[in-house]
Structure formats: structure tokens, C-alpha cells
Symmetry: C3
Subunit: 345 residues, 3 copies
Amino acid sequence: MDATLGEIAMTLGGQLSDPTASERRVRAIRSLASAGPEDLSFFRDPKYLAAAKASKAAAIICDVAFEGAPCPLVVVEDAGLASSYLLSIERDVQSPPPPAGVHPAAVVDPTAQLGENVSVAPLAVIEAGARIGAGSRIGAHAFVGRNAILGDECTLHPGSMVLHSAVVGARCTLWPYAVIGRDGFGFLQREGKHHRVPQVGGVIVGDDVELGAWSSIDRGAIDPTIVGSGTKIDSHCHVAHNCKLGENVILVGYARMGGSAVIGNNAILAQDGAVGERRTVGDGGIVASGAKVLYEDVKPGEIVLGCPSRPALLQKRIEVLWARLPELFNDVRDLKKKLAKLAGA
Amino acid sequence: MDATLGEIAMTLGGQLSDPTASERRVRAIRSLASAGPEDLSFFRDPKYLAAAKASKAAAIICDVAFEGAPCPLVVVEDAGLASSYLLSIERDVQSPPPPAGVHPAAVVDPTAQLGENVSVAPLAVIEAGARIGAGSRIGAHAFVGRNAILGDECTLHPGSMVLHSAVVGARCTLWPYAVIGRDGFGFLQREGKHHRVPQVGGVIVGDDVELGAWSSIDRGAIDPTIVGSGTKIDSHCHVAHNCKLGENVILVGYARMGGSAVIGNNAILAQDGAVGERRTVGDGGIVASGAKVLYEDVKPGEIVLGCPSRPALLQKRIEVLWARLPELFNDVRDLKKKLAKLAGA
Amino acid sequence: MDATLGEIAMTLGGQLSDPTASERRVRAIRSLASAGPEDLSFFRDPKYLAAAKASKAAAIICDVAFEGAPCPLVVVEDAGLASSYLLSIERDVQSPPPPAGVHPAAVVDPTAQLGENVSVAPLAVIEAGARIGAGSRIGAHAFVGRNAILGDECTLHPGSMVLHSAVVGARCTLWPYAVIGRDGFGFLQREGKHHRVPQVGGVIVGDDVELGAWSSIDRGAIDPTIVGSGTKIDSHCHVAHNCKLGENVILVGYARMGGSAVIGNNAILAQDGAVGERRTVGDGGIVASGAKVLYEDVKPGEIVLGCPSRPALLQKRIEVLWARLPELFNDVRDLKKKLAKLAGA
């Protein structure tokens, strides 16, 4: 980034609080605490007001002008989205989009169909019959299996995989070593031995889905596994066979499901949250960090906590009482003594 | 799949309940609920009887004919194994076995020994001295290290690895990014610093073992890590250095061990089950979902639950009582008041 | 290994207890229990004294001669470091260091700068502007992104990644599928939808750091994520965006942090230990296996246990009392009955 405050205000459709500063140049976007006189910063959460006032930034992007600002302000409608936009420019400088075309060291089957402006990095593999939508980027060492379908403008980061027959929507992002379409863990037990049940149910992923590093959306056993549009999945997560995830779901790191679990729209599984086989989380339900939904479903909008999970308020109370157990055991011992004395008296 | 019911009954060694339907064609195998008039379905768990009666399938495979069937039945000895067999045919159509031979974009050391009909996909690497058994399939981006030994008919899915000197039996399957033979996490502490202890103990894996995506069987420190035949390991699991796993063990996703843990034959670690360093799980023992075996071993056939783990019945009772703690604290407060009153009276 | 006991004593700067055995040859280093008459073993933990006395090894390396030794001893200053040194020789025989130079099947951008004696294995990718320090080894399928910087003598095992712009010190080791510099999980919520916040803050990793298989050090959102020298991270771990880890920290398998967590020097997160967003672990603090630091920071030197975490002694007491809850509930029911009787009397 190398722009004047005037240019930045214009780009963001914002107002520069001190028009005389419009020619001042900035080169990077930094946090309030670390920004220096050539950096831009941003302020949107009131709890950082003191940090904003103490910032050494050249200028601060914000929603509403605040008193005691230490520098010119760029007042915009949504400081979050505005700074996100500037960060995307800085990201593209750090890591420019690859040129369209297939690198000579990629291995692309002649029957694969690539849309316009697709880029395929070195050592990527695209198998027979795969179809990749326009503008998609296939990273180094990435893998697209036989007859898999990707929508437009998808990004497969290095080492990510879409296995055979999986169907992925537009603008999806797979981080390194994410895998869509692994066979779920299905076996038949016969005389103490475990026999593989081949998984043929497929995977259907909507638009604007993210799948984090080392995370999986397994293919269904017979019917497909389904992930709705706008759902964002962090690293080390596991969506098991025949799960159904709604739209705009959030799975934070290590969140996981058993087979055939159902997660409603806008639900959140916080870090290490787990939902057992065939369990359901209603729309907008929240599984708090480390909570395990094993015995009871989560109602729409409900927040659950603990292992096994319970309604958050009850579990919070239980956790407080755990710390008072030593005292309680003492109290009961005392009561027994006193009562014995009283009864004996 | 494209076959008549008569052909399917013959292939499965079964009986078609309505011989006049033997020319009817089916094209896919689907669940009872989703099967349509060109699909085959199957029924084996009595709890799905209503679904079986309501199914729109062309025919249903089952062990025993049932009343009220909505379509012809194919009655076989074991509906589970029979449908598994048909699914494996459908899987091979979706994702056909690769042709034998080494893809020109694979990198195979000339001293590596490949058995008959081995297939090596593009961009796989096979290092010096490695030996791959007949009929094995090495996927794209897979890696077989120096002097590693694989038995016959193994499948290394894309991106899976068998590192140097590891020994793997016949018919083993590694899913994407599974790794056999990583160095265990061994350090010596000296004056606050951590010094690597090289791990040279090797890994020995039996026949018919599965290792899931991003799962590891680490090499032993000095003596080998051992995994018995028929053991199936799901994704995100960790078998640490010097663990000994018996035969037909099941590790569900995120199951993990500390170093030198011992797991008996037919034992099960459910999702997120953990067994601490040097701890033992006896034959047929079950570590329930989320249970952590930290302080006490698991006896043969025992089921444990909770963190720290306890016998399942005790832990279940404890979990029920947790929810009654608020009531218990109230009761004790009441008792104290009443007793004080009584004593004072 | 193929050396005489005399040569080994000399190499280790140790004393051979029986000089007449100096010509005896040994070929491998094995544990006390498994060593045979051509193997060397070592003894350093007094609890294995019986195993040492019963060992069939050709010779035993130890710090202090012990009575009843079954074979000649090689007495050294530090049996741990001495045997570690011998193991590193055995490891180099099993898996010899690769020759310097770039394999013809690697893809190295002409603007990348490689130091002296760097080795690049087949199918590795090194992007434009990357700089790799002297003596570093880049494994098969490994990836070094645009403008990333690696210090001298780093080892990138097969399939490990250092993404664009990340800065990594000297002598660092990345195990298979470890990733430095993935974008953290940052989104803005607007009208129920999640908008990606590009992460541009970078990653700075010190010297002598290890990052285990499928473990990540995410890049910071705006300011960098920092990992201090000497820190060792096991497999399946997660260092989130903007975390700051001190020096010589240990993270055991599945240890994880939320964003902006701070971990002091020499702290330990045991297996599956978790530290929530913005939480702090003081210098030398220990998060025990499975403990989740969610609501309170960990003081320097403190040991915490449980979920939610508490001081270890309190939590241990709570865990013991859990098992006595059935008894406690009975006691209180009894007390209520007796008191009612007494009050009624």
C-alpha cells in the first residue's frame, strides 16, 4: 500500500476529518498499538478507545469521529468492512493472485474442463472429467479428483483436495491439506472383524464455504453429506458422513460431528465443540468451547456448555458449585456430628 | 450399476421374493428414504421397518422377508455384507482402480522394488530401497520413504506417507495425509532447553489396517511401535511412539494415546477418547467418547467414561448428580438452618 | 552402527568399566529389555535398575556405575545426551541426509535465493523471492511461499509448508504437513453473514523451533504471531493468530490456543491442553492434560487442571469428591429424614 489519506478516504467513500492532511502518505495498515507515523489504523470497538487516543498512526479509520483523536480520522459507514477491504489490498501485494493458465509442471487430465481464467499451480493434479469454474485458482500440490465439480472463483490453497465426484459451489476456499470427500468411517462387524463399507453418497457443498487446514467434509455413505452456503469451517474440524450443515454455520478449530448430525443455519460450534452421532443443533444454537452434545439435542437459539452438554446457565452454576464441593462435604460431616449429638442428647 | 433384479439376486446368492420382477432394472443403491423406482435399497436394522414399508425403491435387500413390503425383496444371508458388496461396485464405477504402472510424472528411485501390477500415480515419490507389494496402489502426491516395506494390495490415497524403514502389512489403507513413521515427540531437558532424542525404533503395522486422514502412527524411540492386524483408525488420531495396539482395535476420530500406551485386541476408543502415557486398555475395553484414561488402566471388557475416566455406571451416576448439585447445596443450607433452630430451641 | 566398545567409550568421552571388553563389537542401540548380545543399551532412570541388571545387552551406557551390572558399563557424564548422540548416528544411517542441490523434479522460482549446501527434494516448490539459509533441507512435496525467509540448517520434512512472507529462524524443523503462516480464522458478521478479514500480520518464528505434523502457526491479523526460540510443538497443535509464545515452550499433541493468547517462557501445555482467546499462561506455567484455560489466566509456575481449569490441588480434590457424590446425596437424604423425625419428636 502506498496512498494518500485523500485517496484512501475517496476509495472508502469516507470523510477525512482534517482536509489539510489529504496529501499525507501511508504505507501499511497496523493495529492501534503498533501503528507508526506512516501507518493507517482503525477503530471500531469502544473498548479500545484509550488505545485509539494513544495511537501514533498517521490516521485512523472509524465509524464515528471521537474526541481526543491523536491524528486525522477517516470516517466511514462501516470501519470493519472498510479496513477489511484495505487489508485485502495489502494481502494481494504480499501474495499476488497467480496468473491464469496451467503451469507446465501441473498434471491435468485432457478430459478435465477448466473455465476461463482458471490458474493451476505447479504440481497440482486434476483428474479425468473434473470441471473447474471460471476464475478458480488451484494451488501447488492441490488435488481435484475424477468428475469432481468446482464452481467459479474457488481457491484451493496448496495441498488441499476435492476428491472424486464431490460437488463444490462458487467462491469456496480450501486451506492447506483440507479434504472434501474422504470416505466416512463405516464398517460392518462380523465375528470380531471390521469390514469396510464403501461410501458412495457424495458431498454437496454450497457457495462461499471455507474449509480450514486439515479439516474434512466426508462423503456420505449412501445419501450425500451437505454443507450450506456461507458456512465457515476452521482448522482440524471434522464433518462426518451424512451430516447436514445449514447456511452461515461457524465451526471453530477442532469442532467435530459424529455421523448424520444436523446443524441448523447460523449455528456456532466453538473451539473443540462436539456434536454426537445423529444429534441436532437448532438454528442459531451455540455449542460453547469444549462442550460435547452427546445425549440431548440443542434447541434453536440455545447455548450449551459442558461435557455432557447442558443449558449454559445450569452448567455455569454447576461449575461454580464444583469449587465449593470441599466445603459442602465438610458441612455435611459437621451436620452429621451435630445431629448425632442432638439425637443423643 | 445397471442390472436386473434377477442378476442381482444371483450375484448375491439370494432369493427374489417376486420372480416376475426379475427383469426389472436398477441403477443405484440408495437409502430407504431416498431410493426411487430405479434404485435398490437395503434393510437390516429392525428400527427402520417403517421406513422399509414406506420406501419407493424398486427392490429391497434384506435378511428376512417382512410383511407389508412395498416392492420385491432380495432375501440374502447377510444384508449388510451383500449391500456392502454392491456399494463397492458402485464405488469402483465412481472411482475406478488406476491402471498398473508408474505414471511418468512420478519420481521412483531405481533401487525401489515394485511388485506386479503396482500402480504409482503422478507426483508420488518412492525413495531408494523401498519395497511395494504386488497390486498396491500409490496415490498422487503420496510418499514412500527409504527402505520402507509395504505388503501386497495396499492403497495409499493421495498425499499419504509411509516414512523411512517403516514396515506395513498387506491390504492396508492410508487416507489422505495419513503418516506412518513420524518421529515421536521425545526430548531431553537440560538447563531449561529441550534436546531432540532421535527416534530409531521403527514401526510395524499388521495386515488390513486403516489409517485415517491426518492420523499418525509414530515410530518408536528405540523399540518399535506396533499395530496389530485388522485395526481401523479414523481421522485426526494419534498413535504415539512405542504404543502397542492389538488386533481389530477401533480408534474413532481424534482418539489418541500418550507414549507406550497398550491397547488390547478388539478394544474401542470412541471419538476423542484418550489414553495417557503407559496406560493400558484391556482386550475388548471401551473408552467412551471424550473419556480420558489418565490415572487408572481399563480392565478387559470394561467401559469407562469421563475425565478423568471412571467405570461407566459410576460416571453416568456422577453426571446425573451434577445437575442436582444446586438442589443439594440448597438442601444443606436448609438443614443447617433447621438444625441450628432445633439446637437453639 | 558397527563399532567396538572401546571406540564408543572414546567417542562419548566415557570410561569402559571392563577394559578387556574394549574390542567387543556392537551394532545397534536398544532398550534394556530388548537389547541382545550385539546391542548397546543405556540406563539413566533409577526406576529401571532391575531392568538394567537383567539386561542381555553387550554393554550399558550410564552416568554412574551400579552394582550387579550384567555386562561392561560405559560410564559417561550424561547418559541421556550420550545415548541421544548415538541414536542420531543410527538415525543418519537409517535416513541419510540428502545430498546438497536441487532435484530436477523440484520447482524453484529463479528469484528464490538458496544458501550454500541447501538440498531441495523432488516435487518441492519454492516460490519467488523466498530465501533459504545455508544447509537447509527442503523435503519432497514441501512448499516455501513467496518472500518467505528460512534461517540456516532448517529441515522441512516432506509435505511441510512455510507460506508467503513468514520468517523462520535457524535450525527449525517442520514435520510432515505442518504449516506456518496460514490465515487465522477471522470474520466480520454483517446481517447473519460472515465476511473474511484478510490476515496480513505475518509470522515470526525463532531458532530451534519444532512444529509437529498437522500443526499450525497461523499468521497474525495485522500484527505478527510470534514464537520464541527453542519452543517445541507436537502434532495436531494450533497456534492461532496473534498468539505470542515465549522461549522453550512445550506444546504436546492437540494443545491449542485461541487468538492473541500469550504463553510465557518454559511453559508447558500437556496433551489436549487449551488456552482460550487472549488468556495468558505465565513463565513456567503448566496446563495439564485436557485442561482448558477459559476464564482465568495461569500464574507463573502455576499448574492448572480440569475444564474449566483450576489450580491443580483444588481440581484434584474436586475430582476425588465427584466419586463420592452418590454417598453425599445419600447422607443428605438421611439427614433430612433424621432431622424431620427429631423435629417431629
